[in-house]
Amino acid sequence: MITMATRAGPFTHTVNSISRTMLWVMAALLPATAYGLWLFGWPALMLFVITLGSALAAEAAMLKLLGQPVRSRLFDGSALLTGWLLALSLPPWAPWWIGLLGSLSAIVIGKHLFGGLGQNMFNPAMVARIVLLISFPVQLTVWVAPAPFGSDASPSFGQALAYVSDSTPLPEHMSAATSLGVLKTEHSRGVSVVKTAAQLPPPAQLAIGHESGSMGETSAGLLLAGGLLLIVLRIISWHIPVAMLGTLAALAAIFSAVDPTRFATAPIHLLSGAAVLGAFFIATDYVTSPVSRSGQLLFGAGIGALTWVIRSLGAYPEGVAFAVVLMNAMVPLIDRGFRPRVFGRSRRGKTLEANTQPKIKL
């Protein structure tokens, strides 16, 4: 029997797949997440479960609605990862409906309304965070001090249920501002940044993360470890994290040297807030970042610069979410302008001249 081939080569394939990539990213997030869950107790765990659960449910519903294969696409890990990143960026004791609405915004609006996997222009977790921040500013800016499992301050299961179901307001004595929040409010009151910074935990403690904030804002050290793992596994490349953190640190260092009373130093910028989380896990999202290495450098630098600008000169204490979404909008233009150089052609696309080749030395 003679058959005409319908499928051309190659007839071998790497073991890599979408789900394998997503699994490794989740593994890299695990240490910091576990630490954060331990740090904030039952309410944080409940919120985490609710956020991830509603992300999966929303994904299943949308896949069904759009007529796409539910079984294979639901468990490729992309919806779970979106929910996970969103949960890491919410206040750990937020009520359940924040988690639910956030997941719905991320999956339905941020992902499927743009066309589904691979088609969204903006990072879905950041879209959700911004939607929540603007719609419910109070709930998204209420932070609690760390209350690890086993400590006196840690709420019991029943108490946690009460907080999460929004039947009981959060106790006053538990509320605490994040480092960036403190800097912003004190600066607006006219207090010098140097003075405020002295009251904050030292950089070493900021790195470990025993401080208030969302779960993704706490342990910079564990997140850095996870990010380095991803780079070693070649799941992400170093270009975006280095460009983002480098630009952030450079701007912070320059301006804090020029005017230390107005601008915070580089270590504070790098170690507080969602800088490390954003650099390794959010800005490096495949779908919404440029495809070429040079484009990624520009993208990362842009996010770092915008983060610094919003934090230092803007109204919000934390600027990573806005910076990421703003640079996401630039990605199609970056992809058009920053293509790699084609073999045999100059950067402009013209064929190379044969006589300008170097003479070989053997």
Partner: protein
């Protein structure tokens, strides 16, 4: 050994151990040989035998057509039983003119040209060597099958200063070049020196990938006889064997887009081609056999076999113990750039470097998912293209857009498809797009020719109408003149005669 950096490429699972330790063996002569007239790039050869003729081993059975072509010789003695359309070893399953010989089992040689047995410098001129190589039907044996004599002739049109021997064998599973370098290193080096002499170049680089340490040692040892042959060990990365990338890695020179490596002074030849040249010059034998690697987990006994050209793949598989388990794919060539065989009843031709029986696990196909823009294909592309963007344009039907961002510079290596986590057939999109653009090009030139035919026809019709009109007007004028003359008193019979015509 230090080599220049080449961007992109992928790290593969090579599985060469399936056949790399198996020495080259001969196989029993098949009952029938199927020799296609086109086993090379260019015009098909023209038969010089007829059905019923007796042929001897090495006898010319089809001469090279004018222009770019190569002759075909009988791989063994026997009788020509047919010259007909037979299925080609091509993924389309289409047929081509093939000479079918029933072997008589005696393997009798025809008269061969006098061998050149002198040592270097050879007693024959480079042009004599060229014509011998052309007459032996030698083509690029790495798979490209470009007539080698034409490549040797490049020295007359380009400024050449280097011969580069391609011993990379970067495709997985294939070990035919590896075994050749290990077992016949002296003959290979002899062929290299002959080629260098024919090309009149002073420097030779012999490039071998690092995953072949014994071949490197054997060739280094054999090359000691000629001090200006430099043996280079290259990093094991696909597609190191691609001509342009090989030249870049060994010399640092980048071949300009749409140009030949000869434009920057380098000619590349495959190891097996060099060996075939040595055989032709030293013993007069034309190209009638080649080493083929039969491998994959779907074949019982993988092997490297010296196959007479024209042997059916079926005979080859039987010799290797048969297919077990039934493979998912039967490929001619390597798994990256090879193509599926339309049937087991196709012949082995000059460019068949391997026959692979691959199981589903080895192929590792998967359902296609949407593109997640991970950029792995951009990192993997050795030509600096953006496969995900080109594939998106091709999928939408915008072939011209894909052409604008570099489709013509794609070498179809398949690295992008290999690395894509969503199993998108990127390389297939580009093969389709290149083929379709080529077809549109041919079609538009044909339309131009037809348009000029139509124009010519319209002009001819207009001319004929003009002539008719002129003749009718002339008749009318004559009628009027005659009528005028009859009105006058003397109407001569002559004018009446005129009127009647």
């Amino acid at each position: 050994m230090w080599s220049f950096r080449v961007r992109g490429g992928v790290k593969l699972q090579y599985h060469k151990e399936l056949s790399s330790e198996k020495a080259v063996v001969a196989m029993p002569l098949p009952r029938r040989l199927y020799l296609p007239l086109q086993q090379h790039i260019g015009a098909p050869a023209i038969p010089v035998v007829a059905v019923g003729d007796t042929v001897l081993k090495g006898q010319l059975i089809a001469k090279a057509a004018p222009g770019l072509s190569a002759p075909v010789h009988a791989s063994s003695s026997g009788t020509v039983v047919a010259i007909e359309e037979y299925v080609a070893p091509h993924p389309s399953g289409l047929r081509q003119k093939t000479i079918i010989i029933a072997t008589d089992g005696q393997d009798r040689w025809a008269d061969l040209p006098t061998p050149v047995i002198d040592d270097f410098p050879l007693g024959v001129s480079p042009s004599e060597l060229n014509s011998r190589v052309a007459g032996a039907g030698i083509v690029g044996m790495g798979g490209a099958a470009f007539p080698s004599a034409v490549k040797l002739d490049l020295k007359s049109r380009y400024q050449l200063d280097m011969l580069l021997i391609n011993g990379a064998e970067c495709e997985p599973y294939l070990t035919c070049d590896d075994r050749l370098m290990r077992e016949e290193a002296a003959a290979v080096i002899d062929g290299v020196r002959i080629l260098a002499y024919a090309l009149e170049v002073q420097s030779v680089v012999f490039a071998i990938e690092r995953n072949k340490p014994q071949a490197l040692a054997a060739i280094r040892d054999a090359a000691r006889v000629e001090p200006w042959i430099k043996v280079m060990a290259l990093p094991t990365r696909f597609p190191m064997g691609s001509e342009r990338h090989l030249v870049l890695a060994c010399t640092g020179r980048e071949t300009p887009s749409r140009k030949l490596t000869a434009d920057i002074g380098v000619v590349v030849h495959n190891v097996a081609t060099a060996r075939a040249v040595a055989r032709t010059i030293r013993s007069g034998e034309p190209l009638i056999s080649r080493v083929v690697t039969v491998s994959g987990r779907g074949i019982r006994e993988p092997a490297n076999i010296n196959v007479p050209l024209g042997t059916l793949v079926e005979d080859l598989l039987v010799f290797c113990g048969g297919l077990h388990p039934v493979p998912h794919k039967l490929i001619g060539g390597g798994p990256m750039m090879g193509a599926p065989m339309p049937s087991v009843q196709v012949p082995v031709v000059k460019g068949t470097s391997g026959v692979l029986a691959l199981t589903a696990d080895e192929v590792n196909d998967g359902a296609e998912s949407p593109c997640i823009r991970c950029g792995s294909c951009v990192s993997a592309c050795p030509c600096g293209l953006v496969p995900l963007e080109m594939a998106q344009l091709v999928r939408r039907g915008d072939l011209q857009g894909a052409h604008t961002i570099g489709l013509q510079d794609c070498v179809s290596c398949g690295s992008c498809s290999f690395i894509c986590p969503s199993h998108i057939p990127l390389s297939h999109y580009f093969n389709f797009a290149k083929g379709q653009l080529g077809a549109l090009d041919r079609d538009s030139r044909r339309q131009d020719r037809i348009r000029s035919l139509i124009q010519a026809r319209n002009e001819r019709a207009a001319r004929e109408a003009e002539t008719k009109k002129a003749a009718a007007a002339a008749r009318k004028a004559a009628k009027a003149a005659a009528a005028a003359s009859t009105a006058a008193p003397a109407a001569t019979p002559a004018s009446q005669l005129e009127e009647s015509t």
